[in-house]
């Protein structure tokens, strides 16, 4: 993994709201094809971190670089154009469109032909849309209004939308929240496969330790806005500080991921 080029470099990222430091001096990097998990207690600043990476929020201090380009403070739409796809903690899709059309809009945007009036969207790159839907496993629902999809399928659709941009970096905020255990594993396996095949870097947050310890190459632990630990899943689950503030006694996730059991 260390051989791969650095995709995302974050330096000294900081943000405060009304005197409260939500994120303090966070620095890390992410290589192409690497899967990096960001974990930490509720309110540790994970979402704020995410929002600063894709331009939803502007940092007070620090720098975000994507393949050497400084993207700090650029709006989300500009960050998308540079090849960053995002899925949200609470899914955000277009409920009045069909599942396929949701992807087609993203394809239209990727092709930069929004103001082309004479094309018909329902016919736009239909095969490519279907291929992406098939890939994430919701191909069977292509013609359904996306408002009718179950929650887990909406998460998959979000992934398809993000992939429509041929991204270099995927930001996934609690990608498997609300899914059954088996669905979680399937989705993360799929994500990992796509990431390896296309050398996409993945940064995700998650509270399900079964998912994190199973699928992350590396883990960052955030507490009160600052990074307190970083390393392989084994390193992190053995870290006494991480156990004290975050992991607890390990009663609420799979026994094989508890400290000592992993090796």
């Amino acid at each position: 993994m260390s051989m791969a080029p650095t995709l995302l470099a974050v330096e000294d990222l900081s943000k405060s709201y009304g005197g409260v430091h939500a994120v303090r001096g966070v620095s890390f990097s992410l290589a192409a094809g690497e899967i990096l998990a960001l974990i930490g207690p509720n309110g540790a600043g994970k979402s704020t971190c995410f929002d600063m990476l894709n331009g939803q929020k502007t940092p007070d201090r620090g720098r975000v670089q994507l393949l050497g380009d400084d993207i700090t403070g650029r709006p989300p739409r500009a960050v998308w154009r540079l090849g960053v796809g995002r899925t949200f903690q609470i899914t955000a899709t277009f409920p009045t469109m069909t599942v396929r059309e949701n992807v087609q809009v993203a394809l239209v945007s990727h092709a930069n032909c929004i103001f082309n009036v004479w094309r018909s969207t329902p016919a736009f790159q239909r095969d490519e849309a279907d291929r992406l839907l098939e890939l994430v496993g919701v191909g069977g629902y292509a013609d359904r209004p996306c408002g009718e999809l179950a929650y887990g399928d909406l998460k998959r659709l979000e992934l398809a939308i993000a992939l429509a941009n041929r991204p270099k970096l995927l930001l996934m905020d609690e990608p498997t929240a609300g899914m059954a255990p088996r669905e979680r594993i399937e989705l993360m396996r799929l994500t990992a496969r796509v990431a390896r095949e296309h050398a996409i870097g993945v940064l995700f947050t998650e509270h399900d330790m079964d998912v994190v310890f199973e699928h992350a190459d590396r883990i960052l632990v955030l507490n009160r806005g600052a990074l307190i630990a970083e390393g392989s899943p084994d390193d992190v689950r053995r870290d006494p500080q991480v156990r004290a503030i975050y992991l607890g006694e390990g009663l609420v996730y799979d026994a094989r991921h508890r400290e000592g059991a992993g090796a």
């Binding site: 409260v20 930490g40 207690p41 509720n42 609300g178 509270h207 330790m209 009663l251």
Partner: protein
């Protein structure tokens, strides 16, 4: 029997969501309603407290049929409801949030005061005057439960209390629920996290596609990996 639901059917517009759901909760019991996302757990809870537009069936709470009553009347009768999305009043302080939930004492149900709740959830005591919007997800989850307990209910419906919380907070939540049980409260809790459900509940129902497809004690479910595999996709 604290709560007895039978032949419950619910609809959103023309969509039929719940099909003949039946479940019981005994006094002092913690019962888990397990199921995947979209299986109908939240709809079951919302139907019991009258928050869906159309529901049919029998809902006996302490022997009284509440299936025709409006939400506020059901809650005033002592049936507390904690929604999945927490729904804290973000502009109100912790104390004011609790004030909204306050109701008179009720015989046959544990009595909660603000101080007693601050003992149950020590984090909240340190932030009495903080607006709800400036609390972390875990603190909000505690506040939403405390707010419902201010109504001195005899039964509480807890919708996915562990959702989106860090493992450590989930453990704290389990302790709080067991304390509530010791106080004599009956609890119906919906969950996806089987590890968590195992820690707190006596009995369980599994719901799938709007139908109850399994019921039994938690110990029985432990011995049935086939059931867990088929209905919970573990």
């Amino acid at each position: 029997m604290k709560l007895s639901v039978a032949a419950l059917n619910s609809y959103y517009g023309p969509a039929h969501i719940l099909f003949d759901v039946a479940l019981d909760v005994d006094a002092g019991e913690v019962v888990a309603l397990l199921g995947r996302n979209g299986a109908g757990k939240s709809t079951t809870f919302r139907s019991i407290v009258g928050l869906v537009a159309r529901r049919e069936g029998r809902i006996l709470f302490e022997g009284r049929d509440v299936s025709k009553e409006p939400t506020h009347a059901i809650v005033r009768g002592g049936l507390g409801y904690v929604p999945e999305e927490r729904r804290i009043f973000t502009d109100l302080t912790v104390e004011e949030n609790l004030e909204v939930g306050r109701q008179p004492a009720r015989s046959g149900a544990p009595l909660w005061s603000k101080d007693k709740l601050f003992t149950l959830f020590p984090n909240l005591a340190e932030m009495r005057n903080r607006p709800g919007g400036r609390m972390s997800g875990g603190e909000q989850q505690m506040l939403t439960i405390a707010r419902t307990l201010m109504g001195n209910p005899s039964l509480v419906l807890l919708d996915e209390p562990s959702e989106g919380l860090s493992p450590k907070i989930v453990e704290q939540m389990a302790h709080a629920i067991l304390t509530m049980k010791q106080e004599g409260l009956s609890i119906l809790v919906s969950e996806q996290n089987l590890h968590f459900a195992r820690l707190i509940s006596d009995r369980t129902y599994i719901i799938e596609r709007g139908r109850i497809c399994y019921s039994g004690t938690m110990a029985e479910l432990e011995t049935r990996p086939d059931i867990r595999d088929a209905h919970l996709a573990v």
